[in-house]
Symmetry: C2
Subunit: 575 residues, 2 copies
């Protein structure tokens, strides 16, 4: 790489940064952020009055004050191979790519999900990128941020309170208290709330019944907020939420309870996209954070669309590997919103492919070309999968110092054999300049003809066939198998007239099968479907294949115990 | 009143307001607020960089950037007679008085509690003053505001999660799961959460135990936030929270669990006071909202102290009538913080005194001088009570159109016979100018010698004698009676070395007795003490006398059902 170019591209701030490998928080704090109105003005052309500031370095975009109709930027989806404990760096690559695009003169922004507060107190670590590819202020992003998750928690729990209150005061809708499926939520890792009895204590305190809590990101309202086109669409979808059944087993909705208006009021600010900046002062729209298993795992449609109205290229990320994240991005988010990606980037690392080839985590530092070769079957499957959507991805090899030339060349061969461009990326160590080659490759694709993006299935395919299609086409499965309960739910969903909805498959992200230990690119397996959940508000049917945890617990030594403020009021222990 | 003066005093905005009697929200929306940095700059001398904006009309004051040491403003406590459904208008009078002081040329601010979100969806109505004496933006204030309550909810529930997690992973502290007194909180009216079982579902999901939820304003953390001097004091108090007992019945604290650091991190922004404005663009510091029964019911010490460092006069309000609110303000907030009021205003209405005299709510429009005379015993008791603290209040008669001259003169006689100044106030209809007479009376007192404010009891009086002192001196009780459980708790609190703490009496606010229907100024009764709760973090002992509801329920027809956004995105039905 050309050193002189480096010097030009590195911003005044980046030169003074702690060396690569310094803690993320040290790097983040070494950068002097631009006032957020300056980011908005210089990078998005958005005037200060159209921002709703939250402090000096965060804001919401007031969509009533912003014209997003005069431009339609290109959309780049960042996805990855099957995740392993080795780490792939999808968020880091998304941020690095946006910085790199700006560095080569393209007006680009990055759209990401908001992290959940609860898990920060469990296992150490935030979610704002890393190294020299971060979104800041990372402390705020990982804590209360701009209050969106709290608003979702409030709206969710208001509906829950209205349900129990309805039953308490006479149950006019004839709700079956045993079949209330709407639980409560909290943005906290709290296993003791998974299964609860509520309404105890006597007649003054409601109707006793079994219930429980999920973490806020698992709320259907989170999925709804991320799929809504605007406030009216949000309210319509909130009204469609099925909260349980009546005594005739008919679905009862939030609209039947009259709850959707007040819920929308609680969400009126939360639906406005949030703006922060990367370490290189490029715009990062961070908005919404639905679970990637029981929901679709990408940031809000409103944020993506806003970013496309304000910058020429928008880099966005979908959760987990391409089999789950990219599939849901296209088959759910794109289908519902009308958005289409113009290019895709598939992130991999030598280390992760080594793990896919069977190497243990503590052996990843040793060169092992054979393991990489074996593991690259996983990469190959993901590239082929993306091609089924009509997208040949640019493969970004997120470089580690331990990577060997032989290992790298094996990966490159696989990519080239499938017609995919492949580039190394060093944004973690170098910031945007480190991802310049990826950015150039992406730009070449964007400058060419738009891809003909295809859904994997059409709306009118029955739900079971949709699941079968995803399993056989993407996971390499031979078939799917519905257990008796799921079969019954399937019939019911069709009878109720929801057969046209897309499916959202909740399975382990660590394997193409339902068994996390099956690495590489297994095939011929059967995907077991245990349960179907109708998310009538969000607008998809969740197919649960294996255990899905909707309320995490804290570990034996939670990070919370070492988190505090130092004498200067700076957070220690959170990252 | 002088019309010409009126014209001068009314701001440009107020002249264009809807007529008195228009809905509060219409009046509020008719005023064009100043940008909050302008309020800060012009009214507080605080520069924009020392604000943490939340939108354009709300901010937090960044106390690290503000010098509050060069001034010590005078403090005016607004309190009231015993509350009735007729309404007294304590918040309205506090706001009106601050506006009136500014109108007569005094630099004044108002310090109030933040309202709770949950109750807004129960019975219609917000809490930001009313008529032409309001704090704006009232919608935000009544919903998520600047996120303080959500932060308190998170910090509270993190501690709860850490407790259950500690038990789950082996219970090193030997916590007695049956004696965990730390519950969870939610800012919602949800009766079904009052009594719950948590930890059900098998060994992977924690230890089953009885527990429940309180509304967030009832959290000890809310009381702590409002009493803390600064961040360090906050953390110290959080660490002192007693969360339950171990198997040897020894108290276990949040510090024993190592939770106070992470809790402080969650509260790091919440401790900064919030700034909004009155309809007349005067500074309103709205911060904290502890329950007025099981806590001390006034805004944060940090907000009061900040306001005193920035304006010459600070008007603040305490919850319920003077027997509860003013007593706790002085015996708890002032004792702990070192603050002292320089004057007090006691709010009453003709209608409320009529109710105290036995008139039913639907008969209040009729003139009834006898009832007023009878009811003014209540007013008399409150004035005498305030004098026991060394404060002769200015009595503000909050005028209603139905008030009769005879009725008014009865009230005035009572006040004058006790040496108290009394003035009529019409801020609800007229804004600040309407409370000019009260403001002048207050100013006269402030210009005179500072009162010698006395606590009702000294620290070293035993807890039971403290309660007895309050009951006999203020409530007119003959004695207090501890039931067996409370007696046991009393002994234990003394044994544990907490006998020096002040007491916080939780009883009905509607009577001097523990029986809400006993109006006027009853005496000779016995105050029953049912339970003592040691709030070691907040630093007081709660004496529960009668039923105390720490988690409200929703009514049969909750306001939530008629709350929504109109086509312009404006909230309807909330106020």
């Amino acid at each position: 790489m050309n050193n002189q170019n480096n010097t030009v591209l590195v911003t005044e701030n980046m030169t003074a940064l702690p060396p690569p490998g310094a803690p993320d928080i040290e790097i983040a704090r070494a950068v002097k952020p631009w006032p957020i109105f300056e980011v908005a003005q210089r990078k998005l052309g958005v005037a200060a009055h159209a921002l709703i500031p939250f402090g000096h370095y965060k804001a919401k975009l007031d969509l009533s004050q912003i014209d997003t109709t005069s431009k339609v930027g290109k959309l780049v989806l960042v996805t990855a191979i099957t995740p392993t404990p080795a780490g792939e760096g999808k968020t880091t690559t998304s941020i690095g790519l946006a910085d790199a695009l700006n560095a080569i003169g393209v007006s680009a922004s990055v759209c990401l999900r908001e992290p959940s507060l609860g898990p920060c107190f469990g296992v150490k670590g935030g979610a704002a990128g890393g190294g020299r590819a971060q979104a800041i202020p990372m402390e705020d992003l990982n804590l209360h941020f701009n209050g969106d998750f709290h608003a979702i928690t409030s709206a969710h729990n208001l509906l829950a309170a209205l349900i129990d209150n309805h039953i308490h005061w006479g149950n006019e809708l004839n709700l079956d208290a045993r079949k209330v499926s709407w639980r409560r939520v909290m943005d906290m890792n709290d296993r003791a709330l998974r299964h609860t009895l509520v309404g105890l204590g006597g007649p003054a305190h409601g109707q006793p019944r079994e219930s429980g809590f999920d973490i806020t990101v698992a709320s259907e309202i989170m999925a709804i907020l991320c799929l809504a086109e605007d406030r009216k669409d949000l309210q319509r979808r909130l009204g469609n939420i099925i909260i349980g059944r009546d005594r005739d087993n008919k679905p009862v909705t939030a609209r039947d309870l009259g709850a959707e208006g007040a819920m929308t009021v609680l969400l009126k600010d939360a639906i406005q996209p949030n703006l922060i900046q990367t370490l290189e002062h490029n715009p990062a729209l961070i908005h919404g954070g639905p679970f990637a298993n029981i929901a679709h795992g990408c940031n809000s449609v409103m944020a993506t669309r806003t970013a496309m109205g304000l910058t020429d290229v928008v880099v966005t990320e979908a959760g987990f590997g391409a089999d789950l994240g990219a599939e849901k991005f296209i088959d759910i988010k794109c289908r519902i919103s009308g958005l289409r990606p113009d290019a895709a980037v598939l992130v991999c690392t030598v280390r992760a492919l080594k793990m896919q080839g069977g190497v243990a985590k503590d052996k990843l530092d040793s060169v092992d070309a054979d393991a990489v070769k074996l593991g690259s079957a996983n990469l190959k499957r993901h590239i082929e999968n993306m091609q089924k959507f009509g997208l040949t991805p640019v493969v970004a090899i997120n470089r580690f110092p331990t990577d060997d030339a032989k290992e790298l060349s094996i990966i490159k061969e696989v990519c080239l054999s499938l017609g995919a461009r492949v580039e190394e990326a060093q944004h973690w160590a170098e910031g945007g300049v480190g991802a310049k080659a990826v950015a150039e490759a992406v730009k070449t694709i964007l400058d060419g003809e738009a891809p003909d993006v295809q859904f994997l299935y059409e709306d009118d395919l029955p739900i079971d066939d949709k699941i079968r299609k995803v399993a056989t086409a993407l996971y390499g499965a031979e078939d799917v198998q519905f257990n008796i309960a799921a079969q019954k739910q399937l019939d019911e969903i069709h009878q109720l007239g929801y057969g046209h909805l897309p499916v959202c498959i909740a399975k382990t992200p660590y394997s193409f099968t339902s068994e996390p230990s099956e690495l590489g690119a297994p095939s011929g397996h059967i995907l077991p479907v245990r349960e179907l959940r109708l998310m009538a508000g969000a607008g998809f049917v969740v197919a649960i294949c294996g255990d899905v945890m909707t309320m995490p617990g804290l570990p034996r030594k939670p990070a919370a115990l070492s988190i505090s403020l130092d004498d200067d009021g700076e957070i220690v222990g959170l990252f």
